[in-house]
């Protein structure tokens, strides 16, 4: 198993969002996180990535195995595509950015400044960064936002290739990527009680249950 999560509780700020989450991801597996807006998918991914410490539970994973990509692209508008990628390649001690440019068809844009690109092109560059990290577990938060159909397929292809080389992925998404070995995890049952939509006292700390 590349990543095993047992009885994990996550918090966003001071509010507990998820409780009792457990799953495991093996090499070649993709785990698709589902759930309504605000269910805690982002919080779970940030906790996996080590940005937010878990309230309880354990994340069993090799150190430095997880590559995280969030809502924000993390690009510098004044730098070109190649410069942006080269910076991240340097940070992750990789040398070659060509495979990353190939995977997302960024060669024609290599010398374009990131600030002059469309939202979809920025997203492709942001996803190409994953390939230079060289890390086995990808934790992706809504990776297909602003991608067109062709590039969603290209992204799915990149994830497939990553899985085929023994990697794994945890992806929060609302669309079907058509990945092989994809398991789905609905986070709704793990939502902390006071945030659940079916909880009549949700969000009101002063509410009392009437017998």
């Amino acid at each position: 198993m590349l990543l095993t999560v047992t009885d994990l509780s996550c918090a966003r700020g001071s509010a507990q969002v998820l409780a009792g989450v457990g799953f495991s991801v093996a090499r070649g597996d993709a785990l698709i996180l589902r759930g309504p807006n605000g269910a805690g998918k982002t919080t779970l991914l940030r906790t996996l990535a080590g940005l937010t410490p878990p309230l309880a539970g354990a994340i069993d994973c090799a150190p430095d195995a997880i590559a995280y990509a969030g809502h924000a692209d993390g690009l510098k508008a004044q730098l070109t595509v190649a410069e942006n990628l080269r910076f991240w390649a340097g940070a992750f001690a990789a040398h070659d950015i060509t495979p990353a440019l190939d995977a997302f068809d960024l060669h024609p844009l290599a010398d374009r400044r990131a600030g002059e690109m469309s939202a979809g092109q920025k997203r492709r560059l942001s996803l190409a960064r994953l390939l230079v990290t060289g890390r086995p577990v990808w934790c992706l938060d809504e990776p297909t936002v602003s991608l067109d159909v062709e590039n969603v397929a290209r992204f799915a292809g990149a994830v497939e290739a990553h899985l085929a080389t023994g990697g794994a992925a945890v992806i929060a998404t609302h669309i079907d990527l058509g990945l092989p070995n994809a398991h789905t995890l609905d986070v709704t049952p793990f939502m902390a009680r006071r945030l659940r939509a079916d909880d009549p006292f949700g969000g009101d700390p002063f509410a009392e249950e009437v017998g």
């Binding site: 995280y68 692209d73 340097g90 940070a91």
Partner: protein
């Protein structure tokens, strides 16, 4: 980590990078002082050391909120925190690039502005030496303040309130070195104390800044 320094320097000199912001502020500030206090050379000579140090300090303060805020807004800070570079190193590199883009130009411009303010001749070596020794402390303290306030929208006011009191010792000893130099006295003692503040800030504050960043990224 050197990659981060190179990237930050490249960003600073490109359009919208804010490289000249502090330097321009310093130039304007020091040029306006004679208009404000009048052209009496005796008065200017007395206040020049304090004005030059105060100008450098305020110019430094002006660019502090850029240190982490831009990286935080576009998500780079999240990604840096998950990259195999220690956040302490990130904070140290940020302080270093802030000093190169802000402190160093101020050190180089100060003698020219000293001329404008009728700074006595013996004070020039002390002015350059005290700014060269003191501005790294301003950058290190400022990086810590920026790390504490990163995530706060319009955090500039809070940042100033946090950082200015911490700048006081640097200002006192820095200006004192120049004042003593202007009077022809030996200014080694305040200079040594200034160096002590800088070394202490450089040794401790990157760790404090990294801890503050970790809390703010949650």
């Amino acid at each position: 980590m050197l990659g981060l320094l190179k990237r930050d320097l490249a960003l600073a000199v490109r359009a919208g990078g804010g490289f000249g912001l502090s330097l321009a502020f310093f130039l304007i500030f020091a040029t306006l002082v004679p208009f404000g206090v009048g052209p009496q050379t005796q008065v200017l000579q007395t206040i020049a050391p304090g004005i030059l140090w105060l100008g450098a300090l305020l110019a430094c303060l002006l660019s502090l909120d850029r240190i982490f805020q831009l990286d935080w807004e576009d998500g780079t800070l999240d990604l840096l925190a998950t990259a195999p570079v220690p956040l302490e190193g990130v904070a140290a590199m940020k302080a270093l690039s802030h000093w190169i883009t802000t402190g160093l130009p101020l050190v180089l411009a100060a003698p020219v502005l000293g001329l404008l303010l009728n700074l006595p001749l013996p004070a020039y070596p002390w002015l350059v030496a005290s700014l060269a020794l003191g501005t790294p402390a301003l950058s290190a303290i400022g990086t810590f303040g920026a790390a504490l306030t990163v995530g706060i929208k319009r955090g500039g006011l809070l940042l100033s309130l946090l950082v200015l009191p911490l700048y006081v010792p640097t200002l006192i000893f820095g200006a004192l070195a120049v004042i003593r130099g202007a009077e022809g006295q030996d200014a080694t003692t305040p200079l040594i104390l200034l160096a002590g503040i800088t070394l202490g800030a450089l040794a401790i504050l990157p760790f404090a800044a990294a801890a503050a960043l970790r809390i703010n990224l949650r």
